[in-house]
């Protein structure tokens, strides 16, 4: 008997995404993004995102089925992001998922967005995912997690105290007039810049911080430092600013991730979330993990940003581990704690 087929739905922010997996094989990963509609507002507008989700939901489901050469009758379970995220956006996906599950009379897994980001790695690398330290970095999240069991036990070691890493990229890109989203623009510009040109601050890395908040992040000081530098230096070299700013973020993310590996004795690191697509983060992570003897895994770039395959992947892991499905009636939770991997 072949492994069960799980359809995953993700609508926590501005991507309407549906993925289908069979066991650990990716069959479809379709993403309809409303990012262009948000660009002129300089960030995601929740109501615009929610309307776009409703509009794109059915075509996205149909495209995923088409890509995988399946019909809905072949689906064994439905998985959906229940949180964290924008509540109005989440509810479109949740309602579409409960409609499917009831219509098909199949189980539903209401899962955590952050856990899904980590679990997508299991589609890329053919080995047990846990235990591992996970660095989750995106436009909405910057968390350092200890994953003892991806289906039952994730502990938050630390998180950002202010902006998410991706948000800092967006804000600096806005000040430098590079457009939205800022991550890819800064990454591209930094390729030709000198990362050591400007010594921007690394948040929460004083010796006192290492005592009291070893695994937390702060990017607001860095953001202010960059803004001040730009103001004081009218003829600034764009590429150098981009490279130095990016270096400051990447450096501190990896310093704390490796410190977490060392302190817990876990010699494995998974980096996930949209910022994991950043080329400097990937390159420096490979370098430092190699030196420290840590097994590094970063999902393929297309699976780092929000997608449905990651939700399907976590659903698939739930099925494989014989975890009980979620009740059919549940609410989206905009601030679902990372320790709650699936709703029961």
């Amino acid at each position: 008997m072949s492994a069960p087929i799980v359809l995953g739905i993700e609508t926590s922010c501005d991507e309407t995404a549906v993925g289908i997996v069979r066991g650990r094989t990716l069959l479809a990963n379709v993403i309809a993004s409303s990012v262009e509609e948000h660009a002129r507002f300089g960030g995601v507008v929740p109501e615009i995102a929610s309307r776009a989700h409703l509009e794109a939901m059915q075509p996205t489901i149909k495209k995923a089925l088409q890509d995988s050469n399946l019909t809905l009758k072949d689906i064994d379970a439905v998985a959906v992001t229940a949180g964290p995220g924008l509540v109005g956006a989440l509810l479109v996906g949740v309602s579409a998922a409960t409609g499917l599950a009831l219509g098909l009379n199949k189980p539903i897994f209401a899962v955590n967005h952050l856990a899904a980001h980590i679990s997508v790695d299991f589609l890329t690398h053919d080995e047990p995912l846990d235990p591992t330290i996970a660095l989750l970095v995106s436009g909405g999240h910057s968390s350092l997690l200890q994953v003892d069991d991806i289906t039952t036990s994730i502990t938050k070691l630390g998180a950002t105290m202010d902006d998410a890493a991706g948000e800092a990229f967006d804000k600096i890109a806005r000040v430098m007039k590079l457009g939205f989203p800022g991550g890819p623009a800064i990454d591209a510009l930094a390729q030709t810049g000198d990362a050591q040109a400007i010594d921007f601050p690394r948040g929460l890395t004083t010796s006192n911080d290492w005592q009291t908040r070893p695994y937390d992040f702060s990017f607001s000081g860095l953001k202010t430092a960059v803004a001040r530098y730009l103001e004081a230096t009218p003829d600034y070299a764009k590429a150098n600013v981009a490279a130095s700013f990016q270096e400051a973020i990447v450096d501190v993310l990896l310093l704390k991730s490796l410190a977490a590996c060392k302190a817990t004795g876990i010699d494995s690191l998974v980096i996930a979330g949209g910022v994991a697509a950043n080329s400097r983060l990937r390159a420096l992570a490979i370098q430092r993990c190699d030196k420290a003897g840590i097994r590094l895994r970063i999902p393929a770039p297309g699976l780092c940003t929000d997608n449905g395959a990651m939700v399907a992947a976590l659903g698939s892991l739930m099925v494989a581990a014989n975890r009980a499905p979620s009740p059919i009636a549940f609410d989206a939770d905009s601030s679902l704690p990372v320790g709650v991997i699936s709703l029961s």
């Binding site: 507002f41 615009i48 989700h53 939901m57 059915q58 309602s95 409609g99 009831l102 219509g103």
Partner: protein
Amino acid sequence: MTISLAIDTSTSRTCVAVIENGKILWSGHKDGATAHGPALPALVAEAIVGRTIDEVVVGMGPGPFTGLRIGIAFARSFALARNIHVRGVCSLDAIAAQVTSKDFIIAVDARRKEVYWARYVDGVRVGNPAVSFPSDVLGNEIHNNLFPDLIALVALAEEFAEPIYLRHPDAVATADR
């Protein structure tokens, strides 16, 4: 003989019914302006036990957006899963169907101290629904505390693809700030 699953989430009440030939086979509702998410699947799970559903009919608003979308997203997916048709209705029309007066107005909460409303003469809606402050809605007979009648919802259903929003999303372009 068509058995319809009727759903409306455009008001503070989540309404579900199973209707055959204008008769209610099952009906249920749950009140709560933010309860639609869990309420709808719970009601539908009960409604469909032992029944074959032939079509889905859903209220397309106007109504508070988040709740409204829950009903529509659910209805479309359920229909897709069963490979059946989904039809829509202006929710105000399904509310108006219960009133027998010659000339009246139906109004529902639109948040921000406004209402969604429409006028009905001889049982027929006059023009498109609108959103206004209650003080700007003028009429001798205004009904503002009724919920959709799901028998009427099914009777009035047509090919109706888009939700009735009546408001643009609030957002200011960075260029205009």
